[in-house]
Assembly symmetry: C2
């Protein structure tokens, strides 16, 4: 699989610009004081469907030819990618077939249904998800849209940094959370193209640290078991995202759930915005590695804001 | 007491502009669809100290002559006004003496202390609060700054609508919550000056509906007992704010706590921003009186975002 180029990201932006929100960049004097550096937050929690995932899904859906598109798109996911794909498909007026484990949270099922996605439930194993999706794709002729390990997805996610570096043109460092690596890959391509001197870091929960281990060992090591509240970051890197990350990313840091919750609380309390645990990992690593970030201009992508208000971690 | 004029609000804005945040106006396609009108939210939950109160406090503090100011300022409050006055005083480099009931929530005490306020505790009765404040003022020579029934406070709060109507110049209706009436009074002066055709409405919780009853009976009726989660709106109108409101305000609506919580949840879930219950009352009345607002451009001031995350109402 080809690594996307910066021009793919520019093309993606032209393709999706009218469908997405141009999200704001916020900062907090109180957080800067605590962190000892200038932190700029790109608020993808305000993106449509409440997460950056809508950028990649939109690019994938609108990249399809009319002939292919009319048969719909499909994926297996219980998270933001499912909702994002459902809404992107709705925007194009085509079907979205979403395979979800039968034990997925009600709130996630409701979101996908709310955006018009057609859900097929399966047993909660990866094997069952893949088998069920294969059946659905075979029956419908729909096109599979991968949550991260796909060129169009990476290019779509890379449009976030494109906006960010235009809104804040003096960033020394840019940090994203890493799960499957779509956001990190896209961000790294944009950031290094626009400013070869910028550092691109990734933030990962200790309880799902396959990217950290893969990066350090220079070998793709999928995660075996996961244990973290950062439920958007449970997946492992794919072959394509791993390749981009090894080429572009300067370092990967990890944070514990306690540190993640503390950072999340700081964002909620000081900035009055709602972010999901996965979004708080980047601030957690800034706060625990202050010497690395001291006095620098640090850009953090807040990846999403979808939390179940009835089950908060505070 | 004189009713503030629009020129007082312009003066206030010149005085405080460099100390306050110019807060954003946000909107949500999902909420517009549910409400059946176009709602624009002025985000004073992002204001310093997390509430519009900082505008009035700043104006009061920076209106004082150097000679008077150097003896400090004082108030009795356990809410956002106390924190706002403490920070405004800190900005001017003077003391803030805050009288608080000894049973005030820890989180409020912490906020006031964090901004450098000097707290004197008293018994939790209005009499004790007023007596204690008198003693403190006598001893220190500090100037009393009222939370709402004071010209400088009203003029300061009126700067919020000044920004709002510049950011969104086609509002048909503007709605604020009403407690003591400082924000409502200031908003009404600005709004009616800039656009005599605009409607100015107030939103009040059923469980503290003195403004509603006073407005309808055209007679100032202080609240006797209160019972609402909108803890920023428990106070009664003052003589000055009542006078402004009778002159400028078009109508006052009330909402129940159940309706307030539902509106608050909608804001949190759909907009991914944190607002306190008092801020959600305006959206609650829009949702329960849809025929009044149908297809109009409705401006809502989200008054603040200070909630105790350990004790949410969801």
């Amino acid at each position: 699989m080809d690594i996307p180029k910066f021009s793919d990201i520019e093309d993606a932006y032209m393709r999706i610009e009218k469908y997405i929100h141009f999200t704001p960049v916020l900062s907090s004097a109180a957080i800067n004081q605590i962190a000892g550096c200038n932190v700029f937050f790109k608020c993808e929690n305000f993106q449509k469907v409440g997460a950056f995932k809508y950028r990649g899904a939109c690019n994938a859906v609108f990249s399809l030819s009319d002939e292919v598109a009319q048969k719909g798109v499909g994926t297996h996911s219980s998270g933001n990618h499912a909702a994002a794909l459902a809404l992107a498909a709705k925007q194009r007026g085509i079907a979205a077939y979403i395979v979800m484990p039968e034990n997925a949270p009600e709130i996630k099922k409701k979101a996908v249904k709310g955006y018009g996605g057609q859900i097929t439930f399966c047993k909660p194993t990866l094997q069952a998800r893949e088998d069920t999706l294969s059946e659905v794709l075979l029956k419908t002729g729909a096109t599979m849209v991968h949550p991260y390990n796909q060129k169009e997805i990476i290019a779509g996610q890379g449009t976030c940094a494109l906006e960010f570096m235009q809104q804040q043109d003096d960033l020394d460092i840019i940090i994203t959370p890493v799960g499957g690596g779509g956001l990190l890959s896209g961000t790294s391509i944009t950031a290094k193209y626009l400013n070869p001197d910028i550092k691109v870091f990734a933030a990962e929960p200790e309880g799902a640290d396959d990217a950290y281990r893969s990066f350090k060992s220079q070998e793709l090591i999928p995660v075996q078991t996961t244990n973290t509240i950062a439920d958007g970051l449970l997946t492992s890197l794919g072959e394509l995202t791993f390749k981009v990350i090894m080429k572009n990313v300067d370092d990967i840091y990890t944070a514990s759930d306690v540190e993640i919750i503390e950072a999340m609380r700081l964002i909620w309390e000081r900035m009055k915005i709602i972010v999901e645990p996965s979004s708080a990992v980047a601030l957690a690593i800034v706060l625990k590695n202050k010497e690395v970030f001291k006095d620098r201009n640090v850009g953090i992508i807040l990846s999403g804001g979808n939390v179940d208000l009835a089950h908060l971690h505070f």
